[in-house]
Symmetry: C2
Subunit: 376 residues, 2 copies
């Protein structure tokens, strides 16, 4: 047996052709395409195609995928009823995890686990998760559900189903870029959980359910929510952002949204999210969230030598798009499902059960079994 | 970065004081107590106490846990309604995964993730999963639900809630031993998935939901179901068991229930399950399932030099206990939830995010981004 560093840090657990990260140079790429090119020129649908099929689509292929995503944007009445039955106090990620698990009941290919069936499930789940997050919010607010629009892309359709209004070009572009930036990130914890689940030859819905439960944690998808709670606290208290964060550090609290196990440079996704946060703040006439964020970032850069990660500016970006705080993590899933499904398909194409070992550090073996009547 | 063997084979991914396995000597122990002692002298409740609290209970502590398990054997009406709404064609493990995820909606401590709260959640989940599996089967058969009996132990109560009849001493002892044998097995795939999920500081329900989805796979919990399908096919066709299995091997089919990544000897759990399968077969007047199993085992021992694992004799044992084939894997969860929850608690007591790396083997970076109009 070979001991690995805690948390499997630096251990290569799989070969993968999906995501290339160079933490020293600050490179993130999907299937060899640089994230900056994709953020500047691509769309989320194009990125989905790239992740699932391993190459860029031509115009016809992209159009077909767009139509499929729209066509699969429907859920069984049983799913809507489950959303309506979730108690008001239930946590959004608990609801999403449960409802995505229940999608398996209605999937026409639940018992198929081959490559082609799983590509179709990837399309369905990507379409359905977007719809479920939007409908969950409509239902809890007592608002009528909004059918997706055939002529809007995936990002715009999400905002349309969520708000009931056709989003501005700026808003839908910003959300599209956010979806692109969050689509995949190699063996992050939720993707790794999805692969561990898939590797027993379980199924796509089990794997994506595991991923959602894993994403929920504050050390993973929950971080952007934690960032915004701080921005809000600063705004409410009227404190100087730097003083506030200095106070957190003095209390040995970790400031969320900074540092990353893999990147030793700026997280390349933060570069785009900073820009979007600024632009959206200006265009919406509410620049304060960007301004507070920027002051915190400059201070942490200097004081702790830590860079903003993907979560830091997604907080102010999502808020300015009118998205409720407790939907920030579900929205991460709206994007990341594209990468999760790609990883499950890749895992199954060349599968082996993922079953590591533990180093035993407990009571010495063998302990003498003492009959219960004689125990202290 | 350090490359690990495929499937993390032989890689120590965590330190753990829960389960000690010596694959060379055929040793399995929980907290230092040999599985043979536990199977011969202990009860499932005692094993739960041992797993969760790290030591054997005295009489009073054991009694308190038994009362707690009975007292927590209740679920919200919303859970019963979810069980009733699952379509008839839904797979039992999909239903279990979904319903356990939904238990989070009603958990009084959903937002607490500390050691003490998680011990209470472990007790609740162990009680509730047993009830859910039994009630699922009653509901799909259109039978009335059966309240657990204060004076039966956990194993007997499961059989009572499942069948509506107080089980014989032989049946409830056999099921109790089966629960003991399946309670934990170090970093098996479902337990590892639970730890990966918990390590983002997500919550107990997310972790157990991941574990259930992972257990579903035929390379893990699904194997005992696959074993029984073969016994059934042999019985139906009237074929000689050895001829049948020889035919499978000739078609390059894997015979489920044999071999184990960790044990190079007989799986110590198989020793007890073989004995139970034999005894139950004799006492029920239906020895054929044991007899078919035994012939297969002797042939595979000689021909392939492979030993029976935990799944092989659990198939005939569960069938003889009157349990439907498609409940074999859910029943694995009825037991393993004790180990899963112990591992989640241990993970959180000394947590680090589990986030390995991938070796990139895809298209060379950087690929030139070609505008869509110019693509082939």
């Amino acid at each position: 047996m070979v001991s690995a560093p805690k948390g499997l840090e630096g251990i290569v657990a799989a070969n993968s052709g999906i995501c290339f990260i160079d933490g020293e140079r600050g490179v993130l790429s999907y299937r060899g395409y640089d994230i900056h090119d994709l953020a500047d020129h691509s769309t989320f649908e194009e990125v989905c195609y790239l992740l699932w099929f391993g190459r860029m689509p031509n115009q016809k292929e992209l159009q077909e995928l767009q139509i499929s995503l729209w066509r699969e944007s429907k859920v069984d009445a049983g799913i809507i009823s489950l959303l309506r039955q979730a108690p008001g106090h239930a946590l959004p990620m608990d609801v999403l995890r449960t409802v995505v698990s229940a999608l398996a009941f209605f999937d026409p290919e639940e018992k198929s686990n081959d490559h082609e069936a799983n590509i179709r499930k990837a399309i369905r789940l990507t379409a359905q998760i977007s719809m479920i997050v939007a409908y969950y919010d409509r239902i809890r607010k007592g608002l009528p559900l909004v059918e997706p629009d055939r002529f809007l892309n995936h990002a715009a359709n999400f905002l349309y189903m969520l708000t009931g209004e056709r989003p501005s070009a700026t808003a839908s572009h910003a959300f599209d870029v956010a979806l692109i930036l969050h689509a995949d990130h190699e063996l992050n914890a939720s993707t790794f959980a999805a692969r561990v689940t898939a590797a027993t030859l379980s199924d796509m819905h089990s794997a994506i359910t595991s991923a959602i439960g894993t994403l929920k944690g504050p050390l993973h998808g929950g971080a952007n929510e934690a960032v915004f709670r701080i921005l809000e606290a600063i705004d409410r208290s009227g404190a100087d952002p730097v003083d506030y964060v200095r106070g957190m550090l003095a209390q040995k609290k970790k400031v969320p949204g900074f540092g990353h196990r893999v990147y030793h440079t700026e997280d390349p996704r933060a570069t785009h999210l900073r820009k979007m946060s600024k632009e959206l703040g200006e265009s919406s006439g509410e620049p304060k969230w960007f301004q507070i964020s920027r002051r915190i970032e400059q201070f942490i850069n200097e004081d702790k030598k830590l860079n903003a990660n993907v979560d830091f500016y997604s907080a102010s970006t999502y808020h300015t798009l009118g998205i409720d705080l407790d939907l920030f993590t579900p929205i991460f899933a709206v994007s990341r499902v594209s990468g999760w499904t790609a990883h499950v398909i890749e895992q199954l194409d060349d599968n082996r059960l993922i079953r590591p070992r533990a180093e035993y550090i407990g009571l010495e073996y063998p302990q003498k079994y003492i009959p219960i009547g004689e125990r202290q």
